[in-house]
Structures are given as C-alpha cells and as structure tokens.
Amino acid sequence: MTITPPPAADDVLVSIRNLRKHFPVKTGNFSRLRSRETVKAVEDFSLDIKRGEVIGLVGESGSGKTTMGRAVLRLIEPSSGEVRFEGVDITKLSQRDMRAYRRKMQIIFQDPFASLNPRFTAEAIIGEAIDTHGLAKGPARRARIVELLEKTGLGPEHLTRYPHEFSGGQRQRIGIARALAVDPQFIVADEPVSALDVSIQAQVLNLLQDLKRELGLTLLMIAHDLGVVEYISDRVVVMYLGRIMEVAPAKALYANPVHPYTEALLSAVPVPDPDARRERIPLAGEIPSPIHPPSGCVFRTRCPLATAECAQVVPPLEEVAPGHLKACIHR
C-alpha cells in the first residue's frame, strides 16, 4: 500500500447530502382508502466519494443499499436530498440535461442472466450504449467493441454470440464491458458477483480490481458479502434499515468495528477455517418493518447495548478516528 496525501475537496466526484427515498405503500386493489404510509428505504444518507475511490456499501436485505445505489444514479427519483456530480446537483436536472450525465455514470447489475437482452449478440449489447450516445460508427465502433471485450477478458470471437452461449461469469464480463463502453467516470455495481460460483467470482473481482487501477474508476460496490467488499473497497459504508451505521477505511472497519451492528454482522460471517475462534455476537430477532422503523436508533430493537436513551434520538454520525464514523451513543 502506498500512502497518499489527503485529497483536496475538489477531488470529490460524487457528493451525496441527506438523501432520502420513501416509497408509498400500496394497499391492494380492493382498498378504497389510499394509504399514506411509506417504506422508509433510505433516510438521511450523506457521503462524499472521491475520484478513483472504491466504496463498499454493505447491509442485509432491507437495509436500503440497492435503493441507495439507484437513487444516486437517478434510476429512481430521490424523495429529497442532493446528489452532486462534479459539483452539479443532478437531482434538479431535467431529463434532457440528465442525458449528458447518464454517460458519465453507469451501473452493473447482479443477475447476468436477466440483465442482457437474449435476442441481442454481444456486439449489439455493447454497441447499443455506443450508439445511444453517438460515440463511434462503422469500423471504429467495431474496433471499440473488440477493445472492450478484450479489456474484460473476452475476445473478438465472442462478438456474434448470444447471451445463452455464455457462462455466468462471461455474461457478467459483458455487463461490465457494456458499462465501460461510454467511458464512465462513476460506476455503481449492484451485487456484481453474488450470482457467480466461487471460482468465477474471484476472476470477476480481480477484473474489477484491474479496471479500477487501469482506468481510475470510481466505484460504488453494493454487496451483502463482507469478504468481497473488504477485498475490493477503499472505504466501507454499513447500512441498516435505511441509515448509515458506520463508515470507515476498509482495513479499519474489519480490524476495529465500532458500531455494535457492524460487530454482530462481522461475527456472523462463516469463516472457512474449522479452527477459527467463533465469538459470535448473536442478534435477536429480525430486521423490523421499514414502514414503521423504531424511533431513535433503528438498530436498538436488536442491539445488545440498547438502553432507554436509544429510543429518544437518532444518533448522529460521529468521528471516532480520522475517517472512521459511527452512529451509536454507547460507543
């Protein structure tokens, strides 16, 4: 590891402030009264992502991590808050003005079986993005597609093949090539390896690692697998029920988790070592409904440290060490 000087403020590529996303609850076709209730998917999320930085966003189902990733790209509209991309608040842009930014921000999806059009060849899948943004034509377009295939570990022989002719790992490589086709500055990767076999997952993780180095990509990597996130991330954000519990440089978070939720989550990961000491911190019960999240700290209903105070106020994110923040009044 090389030591880099602390970056200046203009090194921030994506700046997220107080982002909130509430979804209205549908009460079914037969109900006459429309419910005013909402699912509080993301609540008060703020984060600065620096150029070239890989952020790992972890949490269990219902933590809001996927909603967060889509709201940042405006693939779903945030309910409130700001997302500044190179200083411009993209949440205020019209759809037309948004198009220029769409080229700079891309997404890689989890399921390489569902996210590629089965009737398109690899060339057409990757070429579509190039055409949409009018980036290349004719031989230059073909050359660009071959270059992208090679960059992602495939080759020109794959141009004319259809998704069903590829394995899961190869499809995910096509998904990555498609995202890279428009030379994006920022990529959200939503569980990019969780549908892959272990031996293939390592290949795709190494590819992302290489691309990060080679292209200086800024990446928001959403994953439930804490091992995967540690491997690829510079910083890790832990979410629970729509809120940030802890943010820290990857090494610090794993060596020194501060928030009781992070501790419990890490202790629950099965380790491939039969002699590993397993000091598990059991979490009682399950994640509460995001329609009626607990007052104060949302984690308190499962927290071993919870006291009456925890129900009173939402704990602010406070710094415990440089760059290491936690939202807990007891730590």
């Binding site: 269990e60 031996s199 091992g227 380790v271 070592d273 598990r280």
Partner: protein, 337 residues
Amino acid sequence: MASPTPLLQIEDLRTHFTSDGEIVRAVDGVSFSIGRGETLAVVGESGSGKSVTSLSVMRLLDPAAGGIAGGRILFEGVDLVTKSEAEMRRIRGNDISMIFQEPMTSLNPVYTVGEQIAEAVRIHQKLAPKAALTRATEMLELVGIPEPGRRIHSFPHQMSGGMRQRVMIAMALSCNPKLLIADEPTTALDVTIQAQILDLMRRLQAEIGMSILFITHDLGVVAEIADRVVVMYAGRAVEEGPVRDIYRHPRMPYTAGLMQSVPRVDRGATQQERLYAIPGNIPSPLDLPEGCSFHPRCAHAEPRCVAQVPPLEPVSDQHRVRCVRWRELDFSQKRPA
C-alpha cells in the same frame, strides 16, 4: 465419526439425464457414507452434481428427464434404488427428510404453517388431527419461533425468510427422521439469520441425534457445521475427508484453489492484494473434458491427467483424493499468526 455400520452408504451412484438425445452424466460414480449423528457436507459449484446426488437419495428425480443409471443407495443396509414409489413415500418424511434453499416455494401458500406441519405428522405418525396440531405447536417451539400457539395459524407470506426456514425445519423434523438432507438451507438468508439457523441445526442435532447431509457451495458454512466433507466437481467426488484435514491439507488442486479464491473477513491486514482465481470456466455437462474433468483449469496438469479418469485414492485412513499427482503436490494451509 463413521460408525461401523453407516446410516447411509452410497456406492458408485450414477444419475444420468437425457438432453436432446445426449446423455448428461450429472452424477458419475459417487460413493460416500454418513454415520449416525454425523454431519457430512457435500460442497461444489454449479453443475458439480451435489443437488442431484441428494435428490437421488430421496428418489425425487423427474422420471421423464432421467434417473439413477447405476449404483446403490443403502439406508440402514437396505437399497433405496430398488424401492417402489409407495415404499419411498413411507421413507420420505419418516426416516429421511429434506429442506430446500427457498422456503417460500417449498411451503404451500394457501395453508397455515400449523396445518402443513400437522399434515406430515398425521400421515406419517397416524395422529388424530387435534394431536397433530399440538405436535405442530411443539415443533414450532423447538425451532425457536416465538408465540408458537399463535404462529401455527400464520400463513407463509406472513413470515420472514428466516422464520419460514424454521418452519421447514420444524416440518422436516416433526417425524423424528434419522437423516436430514439440507440442500443449501441458508443460501437465501442474510448472514445474521444464517448464523441463527446454523446454530439451530447444531442444537437440534445434539438433542435429536439425527444425521445431516448438508449440500452447500459455501466453504465457510462447511467449516462451521460439518464433521466430514465431500468436494464434488463435474459429477464426481474429487476429495473427501474430515473437515480439518481437507481445510489444512487439501490434496486436490481444485479443492486448494477453491479455498484460496474465497475473500475472507478473518485475515485482516494479511488479506492478499489479489485473489487467487481458478482460470477458465466450469465445463458443460454435455462436453466434459477427457480424463480428470478439472485438468483444463489445473495449473499442475500433465499428459497423464488427460489419459484416464484418476481413481479416488486413500491419502490416509479417512482422506481420499482423485488426483494422479497428489503425492507430489502440497497445498497445506498455514494458519495466519
């Protein structure tokens, strides 16, 4: 530990399917045994044949697609392969039970969970409906569902994934089976819920003393739950032994590679900068390589690996490996300090 008479002994099991007139050897000569009270994990990636092996034991294969083409499945010394469907129906649920990955699709959405557990008890143990419902309540309590008397009236959709998997376990154990087959039972669950379910399975095994055949792709889960492990690749068992032996001293390059490609949370600063990745892709079952199926991806392959399928050879008393070069290769894992 394997007792003198294993509860389940699979000998040279071959399960084949036909696809477009071609024979797919999904399971190609697999043998292993499970002792009483023992947990055996079968670990493998897609297409390894691990799930087909478990479905073969339960005789739950679709006869139109294929079936057991050879071998024996001895349960308490009796060959299940020769059993009629009627005889198998008495064995399933009674002596051998199974739980699956996705508890939502395994439960009937239009019956309450209590009715579903009671149904199993009524059929197999011939209990009266009221007694069966009492038994269902006891089972829900056993698997740690709060307010079991109220929850027996819940429908599956009213429960979370973790709760539904507890219901599946309650149903599977309601007739005191001797063998529980668990096919990726925690794969669809979050890690904190997975930890709860694994704890539950360990506790119930200690209390009830059943044997468990645990199918998974997760090497971490294997290390937590299993006594012994069988590693499968492309339809064959490639390595087998006590968990500690296999994790410390894997002999098959595939096993060693698989262990190294898992990103781990327990390595701290010693986490390598680059993950070890096994090159290439998992072979198509329609087009398996000659000889050792792993040789095209193996860094240690030699011409003799292509010449013939290596035999499963004993490394020690309980450790067996299918690799012609196992004597020369050392993948022993050093524990980080």
